[in-house]
Structure formats: C-alpha cells, structure tokens
C-alpha cells in the first residue's frame, strides 16, 4: 500500500483536530463557547513566531496573500456562526452533522474553480467519508 504525502498530511490534520474536538468539549466545561474561540485565537498567536519568515512574505502574489488572510477570517466567522446556531436553539445533534458537511461546498466548486477531477473509485471514498462525518457527528 502506497500512502501518498497528501494523505499522510491529511491524516495528521485529522488526528490534531480530533484531539482539538476533545479539548473543545473540556474547555467549554469551564468557559463559554465565545471565550473558548477567543483563547483559540490566542493559541494560534502562540505559534506565530515559529511561522514568521520575515519580509519574504511580501514576495508572494497579492491575490494568494489575500486568499490566505480571508481563509482565516472565513474559518473564524464559520466557528462563530456554529456557536450562534447552537445559541439560537439549534440542537447539537443536528447542527454538528450539518456543519460537518462543509466538504460538500468544496466538492461542488472544485471542478469549476480548480478543474480537478476525482477518479470513480475515489468518489466512493468521498461518499463513505461524508456518511462517516454525518454518523460520527450525530
């Protein structure tokens, strides 16, 4: 079995965020969801000195720099909207699986924006992954 680099990195993400899910449960036992999001951003900031590469940053194209910045903004707004949904009366058992379906947006737009295609067998894997996410979050 050949494990491609993208899969290894994706699994590393999956493990790290899986632990984050547990820590999120633990943190909201002591503080509110909004405070948890604020301290999460502080946690991001702790890593900043390790990732700063000096003025070399400005050598990248403006459009890609914008994509990176807006991706952070959208991620945080999405997290806020999730909390807002729960606070507005949404049941966690419905809201969690619903919001876990964000890859559907990516799957719908990738062929148009990136002109990438997915082999038929891999589509079966994508289907299994989406079913898994719904069942695990339910």
């Amino acid at each position: 079995m050949h494990i491609p680099p993208w899969l290894l990195y994706s699994i590393l993400t999956l493990i790290a965020w899986g632990v984050v899910g547990l820590l999120q449960k633990l943190s909201t036992n002591y503080i509110s969801a909004e405070s948890s999001l604020i301290w999460l951003v502080v946690g991001f900031l702790v890593l900043e000195p390790f990732f700063y590469r000096g003025p070399a940053i400005f050598h990248y194209s403006t459009i890609n720099l914008s994509y990176a910045l807006i991706s952070g903004l959208l991620n945080a707004v999405g997290a806020w909207a999730l909390f807002a949904s729960l606070k507005s009366g949404g049941k966690a058992s419905i809201v969690a699986p619903l919001t876990a379906l964000y890859p559907v947006v990516v799957i719908a737009l990738v062929p148009v924006l990136l002109h990438e295609s997915v082999p038929p067998l891999q589509w079966a894997g994508v289907g299994c992954a989406l079913i898994a996410v719904i069942l695990l979050s339910a």
């Binding site: 680099p5 993208w6 699994i11 999956l14 991620n75 999405g78 919001t99």
Partner: protein, 154 residues
C-alpha cells in the same frame, strides 16, 4: 379547544427560531467551504508555515470582535483558558498539516474529505478519556471512515 388556540401563536414563532439556527448553520457550512477552497488556492504558491501565519492574522478580527462584544470580560478559569489555548496550538498544527497537504498538489476534494473525518478521533477519545457512551451509529461512522481512508490510500 382553548388549549389549541393558546398553542397556535407559538407555532410560527418556533418556526422562526428554527429558521434562524438553520441559517446560522448554513453560514457556517458556506464559510468553512470557502475557507477550505481559499486555503487550497493560496497554498498553490505560499508554503504551509506562511499560510498558517497569514491564516491566524485573518482570524484576529473575529477574536477581537468577540472580545469587544464581551467588553473584555472573560471567565477566569485557569483550566478553561489552558484548554482554549491548547486548542489553538493544536488547531494551528493541524492547519499547518492541511496547508502542507494542499501544497503537495494532491486532489483538493480528497484532502478536504479526509481531513473532515476528524470527529472519528474525537469520538474515540471522548469514549476513552471522558467515558462518554459509544453509540452504534458512531461505530458505523468509524467503519465508513476507515473504508474511506483505505480507498484513498489505494
């Protein structure tokens, strides 16, 4: 009859409340979908560490807006704060790995679908550490997740 009449006004109100939470959830889905797509687009040129650096700057306005909305008042629970910060550090490490995955030019759909399987780890850890109940539906979810990862590795 009087009971039915009394209940009638609450129906539409409940519907409005339901609609609000539903639309917040849709905003979340759209934002996270956009976040994943823009992460891929930026990662075509920018290396993972710089992507994570810039991503964090992008999250600051929301963190500050929440802080202002709360008038700077945050709960003083040491444990809560520690878990919250650790959340951010691990989220950052996971984000770095995701940007690295996108940077390899791997298939965006497959990377996004794989990384979105993170609840499988949370479910297992919640059972092992928090002693939460393990429901059959979650076991089925783990089976589907395992099949997905095996197919992706073929």
């Amino acid at each position: 009859m009087s009971e039915i009449l009394q209940q009638q006004p609450t129906g539409p109100l409940l519907q409005v409340r339901s609609a609000r939470w539903f639309w917040y959830a849709i905003i979340c889905v759209v934002c996270w979908g956009g976040w994943a797509l823009l992460s891929k687009l930026g990662s075509r040129e920018i290396p993972p560490d710089t992507m994570q650096f810039l991503f964090t700057i992008g999250t600051l306005p929301v963190g500050l807006a929440l802080l202002i909305a709360r008038k700077g008042r945050l709960e003083k629970s040491g444990r809560g704060i520690a878990y919250g910060i650790l959340n951010g550090v691990l989220s950052g490490v996971g984000g770095l790995a995701l940007f690295a995955a996108y940077h390899t030019n791997g298939n965006t759909t497959l990377i996004t679908a794989t990384s979105a399987l993170y609840p499988m780890i949370t479910v297992v850890l919640a059972v092992l550490i928090l002693r939460e109940g393990f429901r059959p539906i979650q076991a089925l979810g783990l089976v589907f997740a395992a099949i997905a990862i095996i197919i992706f590795s073929l």
